[in-house]
Symmetry: T
Subunit: 149 residues, 12 copies
């Protein structure tokens, strides 16, 4: 894993495909495609590789996570609404054991009470919320600058 570029998996959860059209005052104007481009550009700047996937399906996300250990050194995940109830995602992340970062576009602490609790946060390395698309870039930096554990 030393000589070749490290690679990271970025997972976007349910409803994030609506970005740019949906509730812009909360989630911003960028489409998911534009965000993925920003992430790709930041990856290039950091000298790492990155693959972005979106799914509305919990099981598809589980499959991506399960398959990650062979191909990626870390996971950045915006679990969307799954943040608050998908213990399956939590168990998958804990199970594969890759360093992971949880990202939220909005400040989940400044919205409805139920959005303040993440069932996933206890098993990731860290959480970044409130910075819109920039949150992914910060997460990528955080992972890229850390050596493997």
């Amino acid at each position: 894993m030393a000589a070749e570029k490290r690679s990271f998996l970025v997972l976007h959860g349910p409803n994030l495909n609506l970005l740019g059209s949906r509730e812009k005052e909360i989630y911003g104007d960028l489409t998911l495609g534009q965000i993925d481009e920003l992430i790709a550009r930041e990856a290039e700047r950091l000298g790492v590789e990155v693959a972005c996937r979106q799914s509305n399906s919990e099981s598809a996300l589980l499959d991506y996570i399960h398959a990650a250990p062979g191909d990626y050194s870390g996971i950045i995940i915006n679990p969307g609404a799954f943040t608050h109830y998908s213990i399956a995602l939590r168990d998958a992340l804990a199970g594969v054991g890759l360093p992971a970062v949880e990202v939220h576009l909005s400040n989940i602490h400044a919205r409805e009470e139920f959005r303040r609790t993440s069932v996933i946060a206890p098993v990731v390395r860290g959480q970044i919320c409130g910075f819109g698309a920039r949150g992914y870039l910060l997460a990528l930096q955080a992972l890229a600058e850390t050596g493997p554990e």
Copy 2:
């Protein structure tokens, strides 16, 4: 949207394909096919179009909702068990912004305590429960008789 018939999407959530065979004392004797036929007949009476979809899959329901804005003026949804935990469905409904009505066959307030809380209700226009299949017809009327917001 004025000259042509308005069209509505009816979504049946998980386990509703079991209708007519499952726990009839709670959910009644009609099969889902029979219910959809009643809905179609009511739609005809009201001069609107209607499309009915059932899925046990949260992500399939999300996809239906995401695709709805182009084709439909409103959504009637019986989220089944997802009522109580699928914040993803809630976010999708809030995201697409179509008027939506939540329907339950049984009176969810006269059953187990956990069935009294709907994570979806805060983002729909209204909720109808306890009238069996007739609930869908009432919901259709409610939507059909309202102009677009």
Copy 3:
């Protein structure tokens, strides 16, 4: 009860006499008189009779409910604020045993947390909320189309 017209009692709870003047963004522009007229017209269309009563007094509402079995085949009730604490109304409805429907003008699930709990809902046949005055008409249909239990 077969040959003669079935008759239904519509009860409006406390503060509903303010309708049309009070917090219109929540409750709409119609006065209670106008709503009662709409209900009467719908009753006519359905071939049933209807009597509408409003009271700010819990005991008056109890008296109406107690007296209902002789004269009416069902009750439509918008308990207003009593929804959230009048166990006396709940016991009265359960006591007389007529089919009853609970109606709310606004979507009680999209307002203050305490409005989400109805002490009355567990003893009625169903609940309709969020459709303004139309909710009464839907409730009337639901009752009118059901035979006696």
Copy 4:
């Protein structure tokens, strides 16, 4: 108060006028009139006087309680549904300071959870529940056999 007969006020709260017709499996077959007769007979046996009042109105009950100190040596109250929320009744009983006994026909601890809490119990002398109409007779005995405090 020594030479003349002591007199007690029996208050029946909301919906108790339905007794004998309503949910007999919970509340028994006796009408309120029959119960009052039993109470009167027991009073006679005990050599005390008794007056029985029923009201569905919280304020009427408050008025009865406020007026009691001049005429009665104690109060027996079945607050019905008010048991669970009428802090006004509680304050009235505490305010007039007469010895009071709370009676329930059914065993309120063997029914819905919310029926287990009485806001009134902390200010009365004692509580008797689960013995049907006999509960009133036991309460009358309890009061009659106690001297004034």
Copy 5:
């Protein structure tokens, strides 16, 4: 409303007619009549008019509030025990939209836990508690010195 004297409605809730006789260590020695006289004298001093009403009936209080907008510029209310459960009073106050002040004779925060929560406080302009009869006078000043909103 400028040239003529502004007028305020003072509402005393349930059991306040017992003042002067009931639990004096909590509520003080003054009778309600004496308190109303103090209020009248303060009104005179402030150059405003005042009308005082007491009722043990929730619906009577609702009626007073409903009728207030024509005659009064503001409401001072001591809801007594209704403070803790009468959402109907809350809705009435919010509905008529007059500036209102909630007054309590005793310090409700230094008594039973349940007395610390007011369902009415969120819709009034302010709350004054713990100063006995003087609380009404302070409330009157607060209202009188404010121009209409």
Copy 6:
């Protein structure tokens, strides 16, 4: 069971042997022996037999209850502190199926919060509290006057 005298078992739970010496302001001056004598006299008056047992041991109380069906037609139990946690006593009473009455000397609703909840109350016929030793006599009457179920 018809021709011979019916017999009842009175069980006194933990610490009740301290009666007469312990916290008299709460529990009164009578010793347990004196109370048992009052009970015996009342039994005689009612034409029934009665046996009184006290134990500080949960298992001894269980044994008394288990053995009761052969010898007694009903049980009067003051579970003392076990009221609040001995689910074993509850299960025993439910298991043997004899009509039972729960008695408390003091008004458990006017003391510490935790004393308001009885794990036993849901399986007995009724509960009497707050009348000191007289509570046992009332309970005995209640049982004696009822025929076997």
Copy 7:
């Protein structure tokens, strides 16, 4: 169903495909394939047939359950993380009405607090947890030794 071998469906929920690689100190060393083999061998010993399915998808599990009544006499399910939130699975199991057993590899009561609550347990026949792969074998026995209900 009498002459031919009875057949049972074993369902493994999300993340159980990771077994043998994931958090072995909690879940043990066996792969899911090895566990299925053990189950097959035990089925043979018991003279019943068994089919094992794993899915990370809630809807796939629902489909398996819906289809089960034709082919199987009972269901053994390890719902994995769905244990704690999939009311859809609960409703499916209740809906098809086959006897079902819930199995967990680890002792869910000795882990995080949220793992102690199963939304599924109230609708199954029984629950077995803490015995690793052996739990499935015990469950199979439990089902195989019971006749159809």
Copy 8:
């Protein structure tokens, strides 16, 4: 411990001596004696020894557990009602350190809410509930097939 037969202690908690007579719809028809015989026969089949003890006394059960390490390789315990409050039993089981299994005849998750919480479960190896007497046999197998830890 290798050459000689391993031996297990089976403990039945309070009220289990009532089995066969008490609430058969919940606990089944077998008496405790018959259950112990089934256990003995299963022990023989498994080539282990077993001793069965029942007690209604928490302290007797504690004594059995304290004495177990010398004589037994493991403990099967049905704590009955103690399941829900006897932290003493929990501490004893944790203290002696023998592998233990908790058994319940009924499915404790399908009954009253309070029966769903076991204070003992966090310190045992596993829990089996809902299979009637067969639960003991499954527990015995689970223990017998495990080597000492």
Copy 9:
């Protein structure tokens, strides 16, 4: 204390130095200096003396309170954010034993839920909230018009 002017201490807690610049829609336009001037003028009108202190430091406020008994007859305190957690302030006020009044500029019951609970209110004489700067003047009156306790 009779012949000379009585003197009162006004304490402003954390962040109140920001008044006039900060969140004016909640706290109003007046600066703290202007408020103190209003208080001084009111004191003059009432014939009492007043000293105003602001501090962001809990310990400084404690020191002011500790030193108060020698110099002041009462304390008016707006504890700002300390209202909700500074049990130290509560203990100090209870400790020095001077009559105290709690003032809040805004109606703390119409804002975030956590602002509704004051740890200080149970030890003061009364609480005034929602009247902006005028609240201090009302508090001063309340204290000035009361004789020493």
Copy 10:
């Protein structure tokens, strides 16, 4: 009680007989016998007498407490697991009225959440925890150095 040596009763609750063998990392290496010896030696140093009793039986501990007033001037009690649920012990200690001290070997606040709550602490004079066997010695000092109340 003046001229002769004062005497104290030390009560060790359930499972404390396991000391020295059980979970030494929590409870230390000393056996109960060794602890009692340390206590005896400390008593000698302090010039008081001491008697140590251990029981796993709640009723035996109740009996010891009931009998204490004649023989002892105070009680030191380590209620073990009973700390968290034995309201009977609480009532016994409150009933006999001797000064009592609650001792815990471990720091109950640094363990499972449920160990932080003592139902007994509100009726004793003080509580000492976290100092192993030394806690008893400190408690003895505390009692010995206090005169009788």
Copy 11:
């Protein structure tokens, strides 16, 4: 640390400077100076050194704790009101890692409910409450008699 005298830091939190004047029925008659003298005398008796500091300032207490490791072998702290909310004090004590003992003059379990929870207790070695000034002396003994960890 062996040859020279060990030294301990005693920290008194907010409001403890009021001792001797404030609420004597709770906290006793001694002034803080007298208590410090008792502590000094006990230190001398034990052959250790002691320094006593009081502060109403959380940050001053933090500074004392931060500076302690160089000069002291252990800390005795009465955090006063900070007990219930100063997580900063908790973190400081955990951070410096010195053995610490928490002392309270009064029995915090026999007062207001909120006083029963200490945020500090989980990170100290032990807690002593209810013995007035003697609690410090016991704590000092406890620390002095332990060797360094």
Copy 12:
């Protein structure tokens, strides 16, 4: 603010001065000085200015925040233990209205339950936790790359 360098204030809360010596397994090896140097270097790289302040005093932190608007374009704050209770800090940040970012060295969601709730998060722009010292650098980027709001 355009032509000159933008400047940011970094605030370190209580106990952060212990960094490098305290609980390194949670907070890492770097001292606060080293962290501030990293921040300074990152600021240089980003072309912004930065000032770092640490204080154990809530009021000092309040003062820093109050003074910030003149000198800084944004605030980065690690509130340490104040995160969980200092509503005063929350109000200060909301009051000055500068964009702020909350940083935590450790993943506060993977520690004690109480560390998961931040009273401050609802008023900042975003939160970053779990990345050690790097969290400050990410926060600085997030602020630096945003234009003023």
